[in-house]
């Protein structure tokens, strides 16, 4: 019996093709190339400098993609992120304009602190009341956070930030926008955390089998709390870049950001049932969505068309693992069957 088991195909012994080329990330990369070629064909203005500049427009929300990937990797979801960004941004604006000459640095810190606190509260509620679903809890808190933003700023705008604050959204080092550099730094850090650290390993373990993780001595609740707090913190970072780019803030900014962010993660091949997928996929899908939007914008195709395309990609990305899984299982069964019939002869 064991001999049969040992000869079955497993992940460890797959061929090069299976290991690298059949991966979802490879397909995503192909899609990214297609998007670029497509953009270049439809618009004469699509060039490298343009792409660099375009990153300013879609990079701000992507800081949340990384911790959101963690949340989805443990099989959960956080839909309060957009509201957290709004509350954080509003707090920043209100603090700076309070009239007591509060320095901008303090306002920024308060913004980040607010966002981190929002994430921490989500985590606290979810870990203290384990039976509650993250979807419902963050739905409730997102209403709260957004509501709070409205109460504080009352549907006005707050702005007139100091000139240097604009650097976050508009500054660049050479031809490269500052925000892109920050993004790359974050991408490297989070990729390392998720792929190489003990913490990252534990995230995958929890997503794979929460109970077995508990029996293995992993502090599941503590890990969850850290992840949700991290989501809040990164929402604070997003709030800085967004506020800087808009040079003012309103309670209704970052509306629907949560959907974009979750879409990018899921399109990246990270399974909503947890434990499966790679951060590299999410990073590629950030560029797919961003560049597609930019390219279509260049030739004045409405954003509704973009939504259709992204929706289509999402459906494909959600279906692919299932279809691939069925092929794999069929292949397995076939091999097993062959083995058995050989033995019987």
């Amino acid at each position: 019996m064991n001999k049969i088991a040992a000869k079955l195909p497993s992940a460890g012994q797959d061929s090069f093709v299976r290991k690298y080329l059949m991966r979802w990330e490879a397909i995503l990369f192909l899609i990214l190339i297609i998007v670029n070629v497509f953009n270049a064909i439809i618009s004469p203005y699509y060039n490298f400098t343009g792409i660099l500049g375009a990153t300013r427009d879609f990079m701000d929300k992507t800081f949340i993609v990384f911790p959101m990937a963690m949340v989805i990797l443990i099989g959960e979801i956080d839909i309060s992120v957009a509201a957290t960004v709004a509350l954080s941004s509003v707090m920043m604006g209100v603090t700076y304009n309070a009239g007591n000459g509060v320095p901008m640095v303090v306002a920024i810190l308060i913004g980040i602190g607010t966002a981190t606190l929002c994430g921490f509260i989500n985590g606290l509620v979810l870990t203290k009341f384990k039976e509650l679903s993250p979807m419902i809890v963050t739905l409730a808190t997102q209403t709260m956070y957004r509501g709070l933003a409205y109460v504080i700023l009352e549907d006005q705008a707050a702005g007139s930030f100091p000139g240097w604050f604009q650097y976050f959204g508009w500054g660049s080092i050479g031809p490269v926008p500052f925000i892109l550099i920050c993004f790359v730094v974050c991408a490297v850090i989070f990729t390392l955390i998720i792929n190489k650290t003990k913490f990252g390993r534990r995230i995958y373990a929890i997503g794979n089998n929460r109970e077995a993780s508990r029996f293995s001595g992993i502090k599941v609740e503590k890990t969850r709390l850290i992840i949700y707090t991290l989501v809040g913190f990164m929402a604070g970072i997003t709030a800085i870049f967004l506020t800087s780019r808009m040079s003012s803030t309103r309670p209704n900014i970052a509306l629907m950001y949560e959907l974009d962010i979750i879409s990018m993660v899921v399109l990246g091949g990270i399974s909503t049932s947890g434990g499966k997928g790679r951060i590299s996929g999410a990073i590629i899908s950030i560029f797919i969505v961003g560049l597609l939007k930019y390219g279509l914008g260049l030739v004045n195709i409405s954003s509704q068309v973009l939504m259709i395309i992204i929706g289509l990609l999402l459906v494909i990305s959600v279906m692919t693992p299932n279809v691939a899984g069925k092929f794999k299982e069929a292949r397995r069964q076939r091999m097993l069957h062959d083995k058995l019939s050989i033995q019987q002869k």
Partner: protein, 502 residues
């Protein structure tokens, strides 16, 4: 000779990594109570699931009344008059007895409305026939296990089943309740039903079965009339070797110093005043009926659940345990009962499974040192003798016994003093069982204290230095290994407190 009702020929069923049935045969005659015996993992449950259409056989043929049939799904089986009563009663506790009996085949009026009155009175009739005076409007959850079983039988009758399969029906019953079940079973036989009776217990077999078929290691071993069959013949057929060969001899004697002790451990509703100790190099069994609170005690010791009062001592030091990580830090390891749900990440490699329990070991900082990790995994995999091509193999590709060895290897990454093993041989084949016993002996020799939770009396008797029996959350007996199965069973069903051999 009466006619053959159901016949299965050459049934084979394979699951990923395990051959659950290997060309087995079975013949059931009408009006017969046919025993089906075999150890855990022998393939009995899979066999039943093939007959009831839960699983499709990979190969083989099924004949009903001499006609070849196909059972594609549970609905087919019911239509053919086959019904099963499972070991763990699968009822809807919040619904009434009537609703449970008629679940899936409710009686409807022409307009599609449920005819409650009809159904209640039919349910009442069915129950009366079985000698029960239960009100069919009672909530299912309020009944005892024995009563629920009677409801399940009534449910089988309500579908006009001619072939009734009982999967270990006596496992959770007291002696009196067993007698009642025997009576009902015989009554059904006298009415011309054919019954497949699966059990571990020899008493059941000798008491009501006329014929027995034995499976071992997913294979058909043989079938015999029960009359004239001796105990040892049966054991031989089931185990395939003498009992003494099954359980390897102790490699050392327990040492006098206690490695672990609990005093008056209690948790309301689960267990109360549990006190015992484990010595260095000793194998202590914790046994009792399902639901006696054994696993709950162990999970409290390991920090999965909180205990409310009492003390835990580890070598002369009183310790507090709030979560598994702390327990492991103190030197307590736990091999969970449900291997696939609690023990393993099936989609992960052997290596990553082994190292998950103690990640801090590999590399000092926040990063995992993968070289060190693979070195430890390879060493431990060899130590416990996991059969695989390499530690990169997925845990899901291994057989039950080898999966269990992964978890043992995982435990060994921590510096342990006490190892709790919750049903360590559940669902593994006989060969792997033997190896797990061997590993337990070696661990004991190396000075670990071992606390084994087990429901299997032969295993308890064959492996333990001491035995603790629990009943309804309390310890009813602590004894040395020189005891009999009868004595243990008695302690498992009575509340009397008795100490011996201490």
């Amino acid at each position: 000779m009466s006619e053959i009702v159901l016949e299965l020929k050459g049934i084979t069923k394979t699951f990923p990594g395990v051959k659950a049935l290997d060309r087995v045969h079975f013949q059931l005659k009408s009006g017969q109570i046919h025993g089906l015996m075999g150890e855990n993992g022998a393939g009995k449950s899979t066999f039943i699931k093939v007959i009831t259409g839960v699983h499709r056989e990979d190969e083989g043929e099924i004949y009903l009344d001499g006609k070849k049939i196909e059972i594609k799904n549970p609905k087919d089986a019911i239509a053919l008059g086959i019904a099963a009563i499972y070991q763990h009663v699968t009822c809807f506790p919040d619904l009434s007895v009537t609703e449970n009996i008629f679940m899936g085949h409710e009686e409807l009026s022409k307009t599609g409305i449920i005819k409650w009155k009809n159904m209640h009175s039919k349910a009442e009739d069915l129950l009366k026939k079985l000698g029960s005076s239960l009100d069919p409007r009672t909530q299912m959850g309020a009944l005892s296990v024995a009563q629920q079983q009677i409801i399940e039988i009534a449910k089988a009758l309500s579908t006009n089943a001619r072939i009734i399969i009982m999967d270990e029906p006596t496992a959770a019953l007291t002696n009196r309740e067993c007698e009642e079940l025997y009576r009902i079973t015989e009554q059904l036989r006298d009415e011309g039903k054919s019954i497949i009776f699966i059990s571990h217990r020899f008493e059941d077999l000798y008491r009501i079965c006329s014929h027995v078929t034995v499976f071992r290691d997913a294979k058909y071993i043989g079938d015999w009339p029960v009359a004239g069959l001796t105990n040892s013949q049966l054991i031989n057929a089931m185990v395939g070797r003498e009992l003494s060969e099954m359980y390897p001899p102790a490699l050392s004697k327990p040492q006098p110093d206690k490695v672990f002790e609990v005093k008056n451990l209690s948790r309301t509703g689960y267990f109360a005043n549990v006190s015992f100790d484990v010595k260095k190099g000793e194998i202590v069994s914790l046994t009792g009926l399902v639901g006696a609170g054994r696993s709950e005690v162990c999970q409290a010791i390991f920090g999965i659940d909180k205990y409310e009062s009492g003390e835990i001592w580890l070598e002369d030091k009183k310790i507090e345990i709030n979560d598994p990580k702390e327990a492991m830090g103190h030197g307590i390891g736990y091999l969970p009962e449900d291997r696939q749900k609690q023990g393993l990440l099936l989609a992960w490699s052997i290596e990553k499974n082994i190292t998950l329990a103690n990640l801090d070991l590999y590399g000092k900082g926040i990063f995992v040192d993968e070289e060190q990790e693979s070195e430890v995994a390879n060493r431990l995999a060899k130590l416990v003798n996991i059969k695989c091509q390499g530690v990169d193999d997925l845990a899901s590709s291994l057989s039950g016994g080898n999966q269990q060895k992964i978890i043992v290897a995982k435990l060994l990454t921590s510096d342990l003093k006490l190892i709790i093993m919750d049903e360590p041989t559940k669902g593994v084949d006989v060969g792997a069982k033997h190896q797990i016993y061997q590993i337990m002996r070696e661990l004991a020799r190396d000075g670990y204290g071992i606390l084994m939770v087990s429901s299997e009396m032969p295993e308890v008797l064959g492996m333990s230095d001491r035995v603790i029996v629990m009943h309804e959350g309390r310890i009813t007996l602590i004894t040395d290994a020189n005891t009999t199965q009868e004595q243990l069973l008695e302690a498992a069903v009575t509340k009397k407190t008795e100490m011996r051999g201490e």
